[in-house]
Assembly symmetry: C2
Homo-oligomer: 466 residues x 2
């Protein structure tokens, strides 16, 4: 029974998907939303408010609690209904003082940030010789050679296209590097910062452990410092480094997701979820990661409400707590709303910064692409109508995707995103107000269309293991 | 008596100055030097050695002493004669621990570097309201309003052309800001970093005091943090900042310039001086400021020696100590060699980074330009033959220029120079090896030509007051 309707729907969708075929009503909606976003928009003011007033906001810190208070107010101010917090337990990880020094063959301070979740060193630090690898496989193959050493994962991240590809190629080393190094007896690990900038900026990010393997300290050094160590090793020198990391994991504390609705006019029980994450790392002010996303989703809902474009289904804004450090909020939301999950007709995430919107990614097959393409068609003049298949869309949506919710999201120009991502330089000035407003407009147009459409998107396939 | 010879020389020089008229011999010299610089060159290895082995090297620190030892070895290795140190007394300034925090209306850490020569704060810090100005004149006009406040000099540096113009427009505030703020009763001062990058990098640099005015602490914050404070003030909020700076001036210590010669084959007593500065700020590794210059001048002399191109006059390499923090080495050299100053037929400085060479600047009039243009003509294929009049060329040459020595230097592409200048990101990777080799080649060609030419360049006019 599935094939004929699929083929039929596909044919209809493809027909409807060309920009020329966009219904006048849809174009009008897109024009109204875009005009309001650019001329009377609030997206930049929202992210400015979050980053200036709250600053960075690592889950489990007092600053994250201030962010929750901020979100409750800001979502109420945007006119959302039933704005409330939903309890999330989050780990409390404390960075502490940190220093990484090159002791031989030359003496230099290295610029470093401990990776999130890393254990610390003893107070006197760990001093050891550094050996270098460029992949997890090389680390696994070290065998006895790693014993008593500090393993440096030193693989440069390349700029690859406009999305996550360059990041994806190296970030697994940040996740599992400490495990593979420790298996072979290493006493600590370092990684060349996963990023593309060249301003002596260390990039933090989450790492993880395996309970069966000794937990060793793990920090990121800058690309410049990784190059320095590489040159010494290439010259046959013995490189010694001292790491002093005051990091510790300090139990769990209560925090919250913040949720608010624009209730649907016909089917309020059916939900189109717009997500972003409220937490950030404890550096910078979390402007592009993910203050921009918070602004995009709040503003998208605000635009629909202000313009009187309330759709048939409910548009729900969820600001998730602790995306960075374990997806706590994402899991808590999916568990809490497990029984209503079938009513989630789609979930969209904004967690790719503030770069110009390029289109939409959807986890699904050709039918999903065809349907989303039809909905995105009115955005063709903004060059935001291209649609491609992705495996997942936004880490926060993974637990929902695992439950079959159709997930999609904005594709954005991320060319410079990883210059600032997870660094002290992730600040407001990296956001172009026009580009941000265009993202909010594109998100609003898509949210409106999905919440209005007669049919439903097919379920997304299960997410890949992350 | 001066006019006819000037006009005659000018006419001859202009005639000879077109690239087509470059004597074959000159072109051959340029080709040999350039080929050797690019294929068998040492310039990158030299700056790598300095920055990797010594790292940053603020005058008065043990690291600066290591740099002196390094220079003695490196200049001997380049084959220079009579390589020796010449005593220089330098101030010892110690940065200490430093932090600048925004306390109200939001609580955020600001990224800061104390300016060189600044006094510190009391151990508990200075907490005060911030008021903002965009110029020294505005600071002077504050009157009573500055009393008890922290004055923030908040004027963005623009990218202007390829040279120092953007820097020159704002750097006087870094020099004299503390004086003008203190005159009106301010308790401390801050400045938006004098630089063009946007990676949350504070830029340090020298400031100065007036003995008749209270010395108040003065630090640079990042552009991002200056923007944040600006937004709060523009919104009518009261901005409070706490500055805790551990800086202190700790007397004088002995250090050294390092000098070495390639003795002239006919007039060894006549000197063409190639200068750069050996010291750096106590951040980054002083790669572009001025490790590159050190490499350029050592390599230029080495190329001439290796290629058997010893000119009629002596080519002398001088690596000056403490350019950054008071020109101590430049003054010491000029005083020590005061009696031989008439034998300095020219002085060339390399202190503009490692960007592609664009030509030469010369402090002088049309005759100087005509003569230097003729000498630079063989570099036309490298797009390095344009010559323009400058008021001064390299801070280290000011005391020599004040004594009438003709000064000139490389013009280089500095488009990105002030992104890294005086920051922790001034590291080796900012140097393109090919561009650096081209600089060394251009410097060698000009040094050879000036040391070989029949006539002498006219004296430079006195330098402007800096």
């Amino acid at each position: 029974m599935r094939r004929p309707p699929l083929a039929l729907a596909l044919a209809l969708a493809l027909l409807a998907g060309s920009p020329a075929a966009a219904a006048p009503a849809e174009s009008t909606v897109a024009a109204r939303i875009t005009g309001a976003a650019l001329i009377d928009g609030q997206s930049y003011a929202i992210v400015q408010s979050l980053t200036d007033k709250v600053g960075h906001r690592l889950a489990g810190t007092p600053s994250a609690e201030r962010a929750v208070e901020w979100a409750l107010k800001e979502m109420a101010r945007a006119g959302l209904s039933n704005v409330h917090r939903e309890k999330v337990m989050v780990p409390r990880w404390v960075r502490g003082e940190e220093s990484v020094e090159l002791l031989a063959p030359s003496v230099q301070s290295l610029h470093a940030l401990t990776l999130g979740n890393s254990v610390g060193t003893p107070p006197g630090g760990i001093t050891a010789e550094v050996i270098e690898v460029t992949s997890l496989d090389e680390a696994k193959a070290l065998g006895e050679k790693a014993k008593g050493k500090i393993v440096l994962f030193n693989k440069a991240m390349n700029r690859v296209g406009q999305g996550f590809d360059g990041y994806g190629a190296v970030v697994p080393m940040r996740g599992a590097g400490a495990i593979e190094a420790a298996r072979n007896g290493a006493v600590a690990a370092l990684i060349r910062s996963v990023g593309t900038g060249a301003y002596r900026l260390p990039h933090t990010g989450a790492t993880h452990y395996d309970d069966k393997v000794t937990k060793i300290p793990f920090a990121a050094i800058t690309a410049e410092d990784a190059d320095l160590i590489h040159r010494w090793i290439a010259a046959g020198e013995t490189v010694k480094v001292r790491m002093r990391l005051g990091a510790k994991n300090d139990g769990e504390v209560e925090s919250a997701n913040v949720v608010g609705d624009l209730p649907g006019r016909e089917k309020p029980e059916e939900i189109v979820l717009l997500g972003a994450h409220l937490d950030s790392w404890d550096v910078g002010t979390g402007a592009i990661d993910d203050g921009a996303g918070c602004a995009i989703v709040i503003e998208a809902a605000r635009l629909l409400r202000t313009l009187g474009l309330t759709p048939r289904r409910t548009v729900r804004v969820v600001l998730f707590m602790n995306e960075e450090h374990g997806l706590s909020g994402a899991r808590a939301y999916a568990e809490r709303h497990d029984k209503e999950v079938a009513n989630h007709v789609a979930a969209l995430e904004a967690d790719s910064g503030a770069g110009r919107p390029l289109g939409f990614g959807v986890a699904g097959g050709p039918l999903s692409v065809a349907l989303v393409s039809r909905l995105a068609a009115p955005l063709a003049p903004l060059r935001t109508s291209s649609v491609k298949i992705v495996e997942a869309e936004g880490a926060d949506l993974i637990p929902l995707q695992a439950r079959g919710v159709p997930v999609l999201g904005l594709l954005q120009d991320m060319t410079t995103y990883f210059d600032w991502h997870h660094t002290n330089a992730d600040t407001l000035d990296k956001i172009d107000p026009i580009d941000l407003a265009l993202n909010a407009a594109a998100m609003a147009v898509m949210a409106h269309a999905v919440a209005e459409m007669a049919e439903r998107l097919p379920p997304s396939p299960p997410p890949p293991k992350w």
